[in-house]
């Protein structure tokens, strides 16, 4: 394999990141970069987070997924000897990704200016809750603090419940995706000018676009979007919009919106199955003809225009509920889509693992783990690239698995020095 078989095969990335930044370095690693994960002696604490493979607390599925295609060395930055080794590695690196509290690396003499002295074109990517500057820069910011302060939780949930935390650390995910894209934008600048720089990612800012229209709605008309269950932007229960129960789960409808077939097609489906009840009669028939984006936009803008239509819509929703309850979620999804109706299955993780589309495209990716005597089915790629395919290039590393390859073979650390570093707790 040459360095041009992958998109980033010519790059070395030093990964000092905690949980918030590990999806960023995974994105770079699966695109071919040589990502060297620098773990404290004893290992990255994220290795201890669930879910685990069959209750084996040494095999965190959460950690494994975030650390595909990476190599691992151990190094303590608390020791001068460790910092010296890091400096030697920086001289060989293109990108450093870190997520320490702002100022910590500076306090060790390893901030951007110091790294740029060692490697002038280095790209230091710092991913933290609130970024490197500003009054909250020093705040502790696990995922929940980011999604709270970033406006995302405010929009999620039922009004009678606390605002909902999105699943599986979406604050970290957004921060990591923005971090990876920004690092590569800076890389492109470096490709053309030779100039390195410091990239400052704030989880709070990375999440801002996830507020959909809430920011603009407050800015433009001083109306505040609030959490309202599954209805999102729409203030009422509209038949065919929202969560509907099936015989074995749920589907989600978005009828009457652009791209999909109009509500009349839904009515036809119900007629064809003998389940339309009285919806072919007035006042329903005429109302169904008018149920389109224009109508929906009208009531979003001015809910008072809804008037007596609310009873009509309530009855229609009941009839749709009886229809969906008579079908399985896959029949509603695939049958609805066959009629170009915007019905989507509410997928469980099992539904996703068995999804015919993902199966056809071989999305799950088998990775052999000789130490576990198993091949695990890893979640797959976010994108396909024709010339430089995404791949899991190596199973996630064991703690310090590449110490000898990196320290001895590359940096020329001799046996005596190694013994001393071990004794000092540096590696």
């Amino acid at each position: 394999m040459t360095t041009t078989d992958t998109a980033l095969g010519d790059l070395r990335v030093l990964d000092l990141a905690g949980e918030i930044g590990q999806y960023c370095t995974k994105l770079l690693a699966d695109l071919g970069a040589d990502v060297i994960k620098i773990e404290p002696p004893g290992g990255d604490p994220v290795r201890a987070l669930p879910p685990f493979l069959q209750n084996d607390s040494d095999a965190s599925l959460y950690w494994l997924n975030l650390n595909t295609s990476k190599r691992s060395i151990t190094l303590s930055l608390e020791h001068a000897g460790g910092r010296k080794l890091l400096e030697r590695l920086v001289a060989t690196a293109d990108i450093v990704v870190e997520s320490f509290a702002p100022g910590y690396l500076d306090s060790l003499g390893l901030g951007y200016d110091a790294l740029a002295k060692i490697k002038p074109d280095i790209l230091l990517t710092s991913i933290t809750g609130f970024g490197q500057t500003g009054p909250h820069a020093g705040y502790k910011s696990p995922d929940i603090v980011g999604v709270a302060m970033g406006g995302v939780m405010w929009l999620a949930g039922e009004p009678m419940d606390p605002p909902n935390v999105p699943p599986w650390r979406q604050g970290y995910i957004s921060a990591s995706i923005i971090g990876a894209s920004a690092a590569l934008i800076a890389l492109f600048h470096r490709d053309r000018t030779g100039e390195g720089q410091h990239i400052d990612v704030s989880m709070q800012e990375a999440l801002s676009l996830d507020q959909e229209t809430a920011m603009q709605t407050w800015d433009m008309i001083q109306v505040l979007r609030c959490r309202n269950g599954s209805r999102g932007i729409i203030p009422f229960d509209i038949p065919g919009i929202g969560v509907y129960e099936c015989s074995d789960g749920h589907v989600y409808g978005y009828l009457g919106t652009p791209g999909g077939a109009p509500w009349t097609e839904m009515l036809q489906w119900m007629v064809d199955e003998g389940l339309a009840e009285d919806l072919t009669e007035e006042p329903y028939k005429e109302f169904i003809g008018d149920l389109n984006l224009r109508f929906l936009t009208g009531i979003v803008q001015d809910p008072s225009t809804i008037g007596s239509k609310i009873q009509i819509m309530g009855h229609m929703a009941e009839v749709v509920r009886r229809f969906t309850a008579s079908k399985s979620k896959w029949d509603m999804y695939q049958g609805g889509q066959a009629r170009r109706l915007l019905w989507g299955i509410v997928s469980t993780p099992k539904d996703l693992a068995e999804n015919p589309q993902l199966k056809f495209r071989n999305w799950l990716t088998p990775v052999e783990h000789p130490e576990l005597g198993k091949t695990l089915q890893y979640p797959g790629t976010p994108y396909r690239m024709s010339e430089t395919p995404w791949a899991i290039h190596a199973r996630p590393p064991l703690v310090g698995e590449h110490n000898s390859a990196v320290f001895a073979d590359e940096l020329g650390v001799g046996a005596d020095e190694w013994t001393r570093l071990q004794a000092e707790g540096v590696v």
């Binding site: 696990p142 999105p166 923005i178 990375a206 015919p356 024709s386």
Partner: protein, 413 residues
Amino acid sequence: MTQALEGVKVADFSWFGAGPICANHLATYGATVVRVESETHIDALRTVAPFAKDKTGYNVSGYFNNFNAGKLDLTINMNTPEGQGVARKLIEWADVFLTNITPRVIERWGLTYDNLSQWNPQIIAAYQPMQGYDGPHRDFLGFGAVLTPITGYSYISGFPNRPPIGLGTNYPDYVINPGHTLVAIMAALHHRHRTGKGQRIECAQLESSVAPLAPAIFDYTANGIVQERPGNHIANAAPHNAFKCAPLTDGGRPIDERWLAIACFTDDEWNALVEAMGNPDWASDPKFATHDARKTNEDELDAGINAWIADKDAYALMADLQSRGVPAGVVQSARELLDVDEHIKDRGYYVYLDHAETGRAAYDGPPAKLSKTPGALRSPGPLLGEHTERVCKEILGLTDEEIADLMVAGALT
């Protein structure tokens, strides 16, 4: 100042959210982005609220404008042969082509990678189909609203006693899908810089959206466990929830809720929280003494904090808890982000731009701060077809006469 992507040319044949936001970031960091639209099939976001106060028409949606700042806007009727000719010229000019229009339509218009790479062998062509260009669900419909449930977010979001309601937004449209596509485009640009080779990118929104839910998928493929809606609790912290504080008031009258998110991952954080609460008796009970004990008794723990916090000011308490090393953050709304949050103001994240029809409006600024090439929003969301003539002349090199002919043929609508 030179921006990172100055000189990079982007033909943005996308609409709605996932595509336009990706191209928006490219424009913010300096690329020349030509957004292609048509009056004959308008980007529906132009017709979706919010609209500037007392304004109507296609140019006043804050939803659309926020995702299209910094772009030039060209209208082409792709259902005319002349319009397709203009599209081809634009693609010949471009370094990057981007679309999230459905595969059926892209094929009908002849905008496949096979064609594009013949016209422009070095092009990086990024497609964002809903499900992919092959497979049994290839032609399934959808956008963010339906994608959120299809890709698993809804099933594992929220409280177990509620239906799978999702996140209240078309969630994967805004960061996940545009962001993944941007990563792939930038990786491809780096590769092209080294090898001269373009390529085809396919960021199927199904795959891109499911990837961040890996821990749930993996738990099923490795363990056969179907994760359920967990509420606000997570395994490695307790407490980990949003707690209701004193309401926001106006002249003493409560006008809105205020919630504070608090999380303790370590005994130190918990002990600091207990001290902040004034060491109440209930908190010293052995059933809260260790992380495992707090997890076991978490509902009772939440109730204790709720009782204590109900009359507290959320912002003051956030500052106090953070000063003691306890992770805490106000559950902010857009109102707080724009008007109250001194931190985000200090960093200048939101940008206010003057727009010919909406007047001054707020926009999301650069998503990351690059120290030497910081990026900037060069112009507000474009009017429909605002730059059609300019793009035809200055970018495509057409003469006035050629442009007139195209207009007569109805190609530039």
